[in-house]
Amino acid sequence: MADKIFRVNMTDLSTSIEDVPADWAGHGGRGLTSTIVAAEVPPTSHPLGPNNKLIFAPGLLSGTAAANSGRISAGAKSPLTGTIKESNSGGTSAQKLAKMGCKALIIEGQPQDDSWYSLSLTPDGVTISKEEELIGKGNFAVVESVEKRFSDKIGILSIGQGGEMLMSAANISVKDPDSHVRSLGRGGLGAVMGSKKIKFIALDAGDAKVEISDMDAFKAANKTFTKALVDHPVSQALGTYGTNVLVNIINEAGGLPTKNFTAGQFEGHEQISGETMHDLIVERGGKPKHGCHKGCVIQCSQIYNDLKGNYKTSGIEYESIWAMGADCTVDNLDQIAEMDHILDDIGIDTIETAVAFGVAMEGGVLDFGDSNEMIRIMKEEIAKGTALGRVIGNGAGSVGRTYGVTRVPVVKNQAIPAYDPRAIKGIGITYATSTQGADHTMGYTIATEILGVGGSADPLSKEGMVELSRGLQIATAAIDSTGMCLFIAFAALDDETCLPALVDMLNARFGINLTADDVTNLGMSILKTEHAFNIAAGFTNLDDRLPEFFETEPVPPHNAVWDFSGEEIDTFWNF
């Protein structure tokens, strides 16, 4: 059975199943969501209005046995940035969508009344139902209740109170194999889902399976690919310490943004580090190693238990720990885990929200380091939608404007994550030029600048950084289309068998003859499609800039400033 496009119109509550247009056929994941948004969403439309569309797409290899292929992409025009947006996540939903033959789910229109709805997808199509019981509930209650209604085998995409209240930091939760959640985190896509009045989407693939054109070739390529991943030492460290292994090394390099980006090193780094977290997890009977989807061989996720040995949170990332930790000067991992859990339940992005807290601390709303007050504000203000809660839930830029703070670390209104661009300059080019606002995952130059993976580059020098970011942004756009976790990139950069095996799997899955050059060209064309949407939405090269304070405030210990000229940054788009 050929893959189909599932379409839902929330204005007239109709659904349809359509053939895949020829020029969408070679796309998956990010390439497909961005292609559909560019084709069908007017660039000047309001992100929360009826003309925006919310697209979900599994990657090209999702639903197959390919290792680490369980990423789902969501796309729309972002209410946070006003740009095109693709956010991706692990969890079980990509595999469910791919197995039911859904190449993309397009949700358009907007209900005319105040009713809430849910969607249920099977291989036969989409059912729209009115929803009352779960409105106002957090994601964990939604997952528990929806599993009881359907089965614990299904995939679930849901929003919490943040998405219902259309907050710009709202994310979309994706159920993981243990009925906890991962997040389509950045850019406020939960608010777009809320604007369509959809509380959750249940995905039941039944016994359906993905068809493979050449199974023998596919198995052989997957074996080579899996070996490259498993053998790479970064994969092994990720399985032991999680992504939080980065706290200490980024701190050592002087690039760990601290106290709302006023320093590059945090005194409490050891207390919130991956090494400390690993020991706490083991001591309390949690799991240091855990996969966010079936088929992951890296297993960077973990189960973090509280002092009594009860489950507290899972999949807690370096960027979340940095944001709630160093950026807000909180040095207590249990408080950070508690906040991670609360933000997952409310359904708002941990990076955006915690950076917003850092700006609020600078604005005098609460004291730096006051994690008890952060927790109170999350539960009593954000989850309940008070005025303060909405100011913070709309992100770092919103807090800066409201309280007159000038040190607001955002690009295109999206919070800058866990690497200071003054001390690690290549990542600053990624923040500035990314089609989606500040986002480290768009072109992870840290690998080369700090970690020595895929070569090396001096993080305090400008030399070669535009080219480094460009190459990685092109490769990332392609990887984000395959359904592969971005962490395959460490092996791909160092092991020459890895990428050819990935291309071989694509060819065996679809019976095609792609080359490595085709994959690079795919990445380029995705970036250009996204960039063209942004230009049509009113963005110019002057939006590809970092906030002024990075140029005027040296960050210790290196006392470095951001010193790229606008002309230098603009050469990024010369391809």
């Binding site: 292994v245 050592e252 390099a253 370096y318 993080p459 971005l486 460490f490 290196h558």
Partner: protein, 74 residues
């Protein structure tokens, strides 16, 4: 001369987190690694006073020297 040596991730197992070491002058970054019985193949990143360095970098009095295995994240 005195140099502060810091270890990270699994390099800490059976060793230490941070130690002030008395070293002969002209000691190189690589010699410290060999003395700690760390396999150079397992080393990912070396930093001297928060800047990347190499095995043949010569250490100086008062340096802070950090040794990391191959790690990654993001």
């Amino acid at each position: 001369m005195q140099v502060q040596v810091k270890l990270f991730a699994f390099f800490r197992e059976g060793r230490f987190i941070k130690e002030d070491k008395e070293l002969p002058t002209d000691t190189t970054a690589g010699q410290v690694i060999d003395d700690l019985n760390i396999d150079r193949e397992e080393v990912g990143v070396l930093m001297l006073n928060s800047r990347h360095c190499k095995f043949d970098t010569v250490l100086q009095e008062g340096d802070i020297y950090a040794i990391f295995p191959v790690i990654g994240g993001g």
